[in-house]
Amino acid sequence: MSNKEVYIDPINTTFARVMEICTWIGLIVMLVFGVLYLFELNSYVSMSSVVSHWGLPASKFWEETKGVHINGYLFLHHLNTMDCLSLIGISLLALAPFFSLIGTLFRAKGIYFILILILLCEYIFAIIRPLIMAGGGE
């Protein structure tokens, strides 16, 4: 008896395949640009500045290092720097389950279609919430 004889729901296989692809892309982007950043190639926040201020809360850190009140995806505005590109990789990792759920939606039937649709809406809310509401309650 082998694994092939066990019925595996198409929801499972689609979810896993999409997740695998997104994870690989995200990891490669995060690590390649992250390592280049560690080699001091073009950075948005210099490493010595990060080390000097990383004891501060995140909001204070950005005020002190870049003079900005962070509330949103600041890294998207500085995509010519290695640290921000590394954060794009992390964003892709954070998007992996979202894309997996989109892939699964077309395979789901009945109540699962509705539940996955609700999940996707919640996910979209998580992503756009910082852009439409004051993040972190400030």
Binding site: A58, L93, G136
Partner: protein
């Protein structure tokens, strides 16, 4: 020159002898790594006890030391975590909070990405084989994704809204660690729990499935029960995971296994699938608040990934009990230290 033919009569005996030598070396390696971990953690503790002034003088001028320290630190955590049965994030967050100079915001952000990366790397394999069940994951995460996001918002709000917020979070983290410690020493795993009847909701959602278990060479069938109570538990776990940047496998697995009746393999792998969704949603809160720094995240992810591979390999070969006791001791120590650090920051002690 030794006359091997006299002592070892066949190739099979040579193979057996070599295998024994390798096994012994592996056992010794496990002990050595455990010892190295103690020494390294002790060293970090001493460095911290030596005063923050020392840290400040090395920080900006010798920034390059930090990625190396973080890599080594997470590499060791990655090795000992699989041997003790806990996730790397559960060790990283409290230890880094206790010993490292980073703000707790960045530590939680890093812990979350570490847990997310680990879960994303392993979950698809289990899902494809049918061991992790997306159909169990979906109704659970519909609720826990919300609490996970709320946890992330509350955690970052506390540190930015209150002047002493960092210390409140540190104390709360210490208390959560106590909870994890108690769960770890009290909960027992049931390989194949017997579920007599499914609850109405589980029945409607068709939460019964099967997978091929190669060690038994047969198909294992299982069914889920007590889903509504399970969803409530996951709501609480999601909040803690989002707030402290923990992977939360320590809580997911007992809920799925002992409460909902999932076999242990299904519980562990479905827990990873749940972590991918919960932590990915919470990660957006941390990204938007600038609480994820590549300088901390990148070496930590590399370290824990390589360490976990070695740890998983060693865990199959040898599972020294002292590693589990060591991890429990570290957790207890980190819990006490976090509470002390928080109370000290508030001026209570």
């Amino acid at each position: 020159m030794l006359n091997w033919s006299g002592k070892l009569k066949s190739k099979w005996e040579i193979y057996k002898t070599l295998k024994e030598v390798v096994m012994r070396c592996t056992k010794q390696l496990g002990k050595l790594i455990g010892l190295a971990s103690i020494i390294f953690l002790f060293y970090v503790a001493l460095a911290h006890a030596g005063g923050e002034a020392a840290v400040k003088t090395t920080t900006s001028s010798h920034w390059w030391l930090w990625p190396i320290i973080l890599f080594l630190f997470t590499f060791i955590i990655g090795i000992i975590a699989p041997m003790s049965g806990v996730g790397g994030g559960v060790l990283f967050v409290p230890l880094a909070t206790a010993f490292f100079p980073f703000n707790v915001d960045f530590i939680r952000g890093t812990g979350l990405i570490m847990a997310l990366t680990s879960a994303l790397s392993s979950a698809p394999q289990f899902i494809k084989k049918g061991v992790a069940n997306v159909k169990i994951m979906v109704p659970v995460v519909v609720v826990s994704i919300i609490t996970s996001i709320v946890g992330g918002i509350v955690g970052l709000w506390i540190t930015s809204a209150f002047p002493s917020g960092k210390y409140y979070i540190t104390i709360a983290l210490g208390l959560v660690l106590f909870l994890i410690f108690i769960v770890m020493i009290t909960s027992k795993r049931v390989e194949y729990p017997e579920v007599e009847s499914m609850d109405g909701l589980s029945q409607k959602l068709g939460l019964s499935s099967s997978w091929y278990e190669p060690t038994l060479e047969k198909i294992i069938e299982y069914k889920i029960t007590r889903l509504p109570i399970g969803i409530l538990c996951f709501a609480g776990v999601g909040f803690i995971a989002g707030m402290f940047g923990l992977g939360a496998g320590w809580a997911n697995v007992p809920v799925l296994n002992l409460l909902m009746g999932a076999p242990i393999k299904v519980a562990v792998s479905t827990s990873m699938a749940i972590i991918t969704v919960n932590d990915a949603a919470a990660a957006w809160i941390y990204l938007a608040k600038g609480a994820i720094l590549p300088l901390i995240v990148v070496p930590s992810v590399i370290g824990i990934t390589i360490g976990a591979r070695i740890g998983a390999w060693l865990a199959v070969k040898t599972k020294p009990k002292f590693i589990k006791y060591l991890v429990l001791a570290i957790m207890l120590f980190a819990a006490l230290l976090d509470i002390f650090k928080g109370l000290h920051g508030l001026g209570v002690v």
